[in-house]
């Protein structure tokens, strides 16, 4: 009954991007529209949830229309509507979830609730086929997770952050260095011309654990900056950035590599906004070179939040008839079963 090359209209509003996309067969991108609110939140030094929600409701239908127009499809062509159900900001998620439900109802289409992280992983499937087993490192402002997959739609969480997400640590350290929001790309850029002179701690946690912890590192950096300011010593921002980044990347790369070897995976998929980080990309390439494990990092526009990735992940659920009812709700703390 279900189409082989189904066309899915997908929606993503979990944080500060209002996004809609049309995806065919889980692998082919017909359109991918993202209305970012980056400039709006910049003046507040971070995402203000209520502001984000207000912008989502103003953008949603226009973004949807653009996605349909660019894909050159009508509702007669659409086989299902997919939406990020969680995790994320609840007020922001609610705009997308209720839009998706209304459209599914209006056109009698199946509705698919998608986990945001599943989306990040499946962004890669728009670039190349998956080969199982695979490992995915998801790094963003809200996430640092290692997920093992034996098959499509089968997610096993083998490691996650116990405190701050990697991207969150970047933003906080950037703030301490008085860099504008969002701080991640700024630190990455500064670090390119600095050296690891401070030797901040690397937090590997207990033997055999694939969990992460970045709050100790963040505190070490902030304390160091505080000391220097009190003693009126000059702060070499390039070196602070390089030292902080070296610690984060050492831990991310080493743990990911060990997990990939232990689980004998064929592919390592890197996902989430932090995968845009130049140093992380370079170090992963170095480490996985000659390992026999294929390193997959999608282009930047698929790394940051978008709806195409939600449509790609939804394709798997579509073929499993994993549909939601009209009582689907936003779930800000949604777990990956």
């Amino acid at each position: 009954m279900t189409e082989q090359n189904e066309i899915i209209l997908a929606i993503e509003t979990s944080c500060d991007e209002t996004a809609a996309a049309v995806v065919k067969g889980g692998t082919e991108l017909l359109s991918n529209v993202v209305a970012t609110q980056m400039d709006i939140h910049q003046k507040f030094g971070g995402v203000v949830p209520e502001v984000a929600s207000r912008h989502h409701i103003e953008q949603m239908t226009a973004v949807l229309e653009q996605a349909m127009d660019e894909a050159d499809v009508t509702f007669d062509d659409i086989d299902a509507v997919a939406v990020t159900q969680g995790p994320g900001l609840v007020g922001a998620l609610l705009v997308g979830v209720n839009a998706a439900k209304a459209i599914a109802y209006a056109h009698d289409l199946p509705l698919i609730g998608v986990h945001h992280i599943a989306g990040h992983i499946y962004a890669n499937r728009l670039e190349q086929p998956f080969e199982f087993p695979l490992l995915s490192l998801v790094v963003s402002g809200g996430h640092t997770e290692l997920i093992y997959m034996n098959d499509h739609g089968d997610y096993q969480l083998i490691g996650e952050t116990r405190d701050d997400a990697a991207g969150e640590a970047y933003d906080k350290v950037a703030k301490a260095l008085e860099l504008p929001y969002p701080g991640g790309p700024q630190i990455d850029q500064l670090a390119q011309s600095g050296k690891d002179t401070y030797q901040f701690p690397r937090s590997y946690l207990e033997e055999g654990s694939y969990d992460f912890s970045f709050s100790g590192l963040k505190t070490a950096v902030i304390n160091k900056l505080h000391q220097k300011r009190q003693k009126n010593e000059p702060i070499d921002r390039e070196n602070v950035a390089a030292s902080f980044q070296a610690s984060v990347i050492d831990v991310l790369v080493n743990k990911t590599y060990e997990a990939a070897l232990e689980h004998n995976v064929k592919q390592l998929i890197v996902a989430g906004g932090v995968s845009a980080n130049q140093s992380l990309r370079a170090r992963l390439q170095e480490k996985f070179e000659g390992s026999g494990i294929e390193l997959c990092i999608p282009p930047l526009y698929l790394c940051t939040d978008n709806a195409a990735m939600i449509g790609a992940a939804a394709s798997i659920q579509y073929h499993q008839s994993d549909f939601a009812g009209l009582d689907l709700n936003a779930n800000p703390g949604l777990m990956m079963d």
Partner: protein
């Protein structure tokens, strides 16, 4: 005209459908429930009762606020997406105006309000004339004590109505005395059927531009503007 109306502005949720301009089905729930879970199943229910399919609809009516920010967005996102994807017009009407329209008295001012916490209310002033419900003072976010003074200065008889729980009863009688009447409880809950009827005689607006009427700036934005002024 077949009209679907949705109001999720406050705790009461109401959805209704008019078939050929006449009320066919209405559902109102006044429980502390989750509008996001309930609104589309409620729409589905009233549409089924009316024997209508989504493509039979000709107009969507939405209560635009004021009210709970989240509640407003749940209704608005559903209504906008329905109207846009069915390619039919949408009409947005003040949630306070809907309450006012449920009062039938013609010779008195009608003052609906919602509790906005910390002594504040969302309030507006309306009057029923031979042609319909007229707005006398536009909706606003205001301290209740200030609002009651505004009402007092009109020197008119006022009917007060509110669908949200509040502790202002004594204050209302203290300030407005003999000139005020609180509405019968049975008329104080928003009915989406009233929203639908009002919508039929109002002009539709562009669906994309439509946003809730919050009547209050986000605190972070207010603070940011304040800071800009200081510079």
């Amino acid at each position: 005209m077949n009209v679907l109306a949705i109001d999720t502005s406050n705790q009461p949720m109401s959805v209704a459908v008019l078939k050929e301009g006449v009320l066919a089905a209405e559902l109102t729930i006044n429980m502390k429930r989750n509008h996001s879970i309930q609104v589309m199943p409620a729409v589905d229910y009233v549409m089924n009762q009316a024997d209508l399919k989504p493509k039979d609809l000709q107009l969507v009516a939405i209560a635009e606020g004021p009210g709970s920010y989240t509640g407003l967005r749940i209704g608005m996102s559903s209504a906008k997406s329905l109207a846009w994807s069915l390619d039919i017009p949408i009409v947005a009407i003040s949630s306070l105006k809907v309450l006012a329209a449920q009062v039938t008295d013609q010779d008195k001012l009608i003052a609906p309000f919602f509790d906005a916490r910390r002594g504040n209310v969302y309030a507006g002033l309306y009057e029923r004339t031979t042609t319909g419900i007229e707005t006398i003072q536009s909706d606003r976010n205001v301290a209740m004590t200030d609002w009651l003074e505004v009402l007092k200065e009109t020197n008119r008889d006022v009917i007060i109505t509110s669908s949200t729980n509040h502790q202002f009863t004594d204050e209302i009688y203290d300030i407005l005395g003999q000139n005020v009447r609180l509405i019968d409880p049975v008329l104080q809950y928003p009915k989406a059927s009233m929203l639908a009827y009002l919508a039929m005689s109002e002009e539709s607006i562009s669906v994309h531009a439509l946003a809730p009427q919050y009547h209050r700036m986000v605190e972070a934005e207010a603070k940011w503007l304040e800071k800009q002024k200081e510079r």
